[in-house]
Symmetry: C2
Subunit: 363 residues, 2 copies
Amino acid sequence: MTVTLADVAARARVSPATVSRVLNGNYPVAASTRERVLRAVDDLDYVLNGPASSLAAATSDLVGILVNDIADPFFGIMAGAAQTQIGGPGDGSGRAGGEKLAVICNTGGSPERELTYLTLLQRQRAAAVVLTGGAVESPDHQAAMAAKLAKLADAGTRIVFCGRPPLPEGDALVAALAFDNRGGGRRLTEHLISLGHRRIGYVAGPPERTTTRHRLEGHREALRRAGLDAESGDGEGGDGERLTVHGPYDRRSGYEATLDILRREPGITAVVAANDTVALGACAAVRDQGLRIPQDISVAGFDDLPFSVDAVPALTTVRLPLFEAGARAGRLAMGKENPPPGGIATIAAELMIRGSTAPPRVG
Amino acid sequence: MTVTLADVAARARVSPATVSRVLNGNYPVAASTRERVLRAVDDLDYVLNGPASSLAAATSDLVGILVNDIADPFFGIMAGAAQTQIGGPGDGSGRAGGEKLAVICNTGGSPERELTYLTLLQRQRAAAVVLTGGAVESPDHQAAMAAKLAKLADAGTRIVFCGRPPLPEGDALVAALAFDNRGGGRRLTEHLISLGHRRIGYVAGPPERTTTRHRLEGHREALRRAGLDAESGDGEGGDGERLTVHGPYDRRSGYEATLDILRREPGITAVVAANDTVALGACAAVRDQGLRIPQDISVAGFDDLPFSVDAVPALTTVRLPLFEAGARAGRLAMGKENPPPGGIATIAAELMIRGSTAPPRVG
DNA sequence: CTGTTAGCGCCTTCAA
DNA sequence: TTGAAGGCGCTAACAG
């Protein structure tokens, strides 16, 4: 039924081992022999049996890329970029060569699914795993992840974090590319403060995620440095709680949280959103209240997704080099690039000042 | 080093065969035995060897989802939705159960990479393959695809098209969910015509793709029905060529093509874009020319991606139920749902009229 | 440079 | 309901 290595060997009048060597290209083979083998492969339309190959070699050509939400371009861009480094350009023949199969796994942000996918990849003896985006900070989950990743690494799977802080235990097993969420958040709020804003609403992400926490910490640090923490700081029971609302990283959350903040604190002059998608919702809410951006309320986002520059007015935000980071993670996963010193690199975040922020109205 | 089925069997004091049966759950096993085996699995932290299992069973639990560009939410939404039906909810333990591993493969729109990924999936003996988005119409590629898909289907891989027209040969091997791109395109342009527009620019996608062609055909059909084809129709050498510009499905293309059209045909009163992303670029171009939307120029898109409603003014577009279609494709791939009659279902496209279109200025 | 020989770890008849 | 045995298709020593 299906043609096997042995069939190819028979037709090329060589041993199965030779066919294997030609196909894997890891061993010297006479040019004429190789020629003959390749012709037999084409004649017979032979396709390697992946499972058999993986079983014998005790490794597979699968590389897993874990993302929270593939419908979100934040992850789509990173995952796509990683894949460009992993899949290889192909040989243009449709015949697969030495490429790895880069597979994107959508966890939906669920810790359980994250672990499940890791188990699935462990099963497949994946060559590498790239974990993107922030982590959930529950101690249980972190411990489970650390254990699972240790096992994977133990089995020879390369582990790369992309846009995700390294594990607390700081395993040297992994390379980590961490975004400077805290610094970016701080500079963004400093920008607003320098424009003259004093009461700034903050629409945060889900409280349990590292990304959320880091961005918020940056925001509050800026407030504190400016001596504004009495008004908007993080003191228990202070005003900070009225000015900060948590919610998922989506448009709707931005819309509703902003309405909420505006209702409770009509005196705010700016809203900072946890990311650009949330910011879009915030903009809609501001407008629906009959307020103008930026004349009445300044709005800012985070990430600088492609659509942000097209918002009207264009969104002030913090640019994260998602494509570059994803590509680098892909290269690290393939062993094409050496890990950064200490295994950890921090990726800079750049403030992008655009039309959605301006000085508050006087009076 | 790594624990195998045999280790589990030894610890549970049963034969390897019994362990296998417990794990696969396809055979009757005494409850007490099963209990013992499962405990041994947990104690030993056993993880099934996927390749070995796939080799022996001649099938794997991999499901491939092919997309053109995962950074584009159009594909991200479909792929994510498909994955929800394929990955299964997990058992909440991090221990993988009978789930399939849904993997997203990013072709970048390249026919070669599409074929390469199919070969890779064929290698892995994938359980199913979902192909999303439009196809490239080159006869060579179509033939190659048909041959490859036939082989996959032959090996037991289920094939599902999602948002993609069935192959010309109309293999009964596949289930196809096709978007009504033509009808959507037609109704969108009819809407503009009914508002009074007579000279309408069209920023099309890459000419070789089915999606591009179908949407454009719908557009031209509307023009023809309104007797406008002399002005903007598809006649050879006619004005249609001046009013239609092809380019990739991205923002930049929308921006540049729109500038181009406006330069050559300052008299147009509306621009239809091949999709929402392109439309965003078109909007930017219109504004940069000092024109207002919709007072001076109406702009419309296609797809109704999440950000479209947040454009200012909100984008008139054609809604495609991407999530629903993706989820259905996932179910078809899993065999959870029966294929539509004839293997083909057409998914309706709904006109969404918003603020970016209005009657043209009089005079 | 090429052939021979053993498994890789699991599933699946066949018997018991 | 359970065990024994063979083989899935390939790779990786080891010879030659």
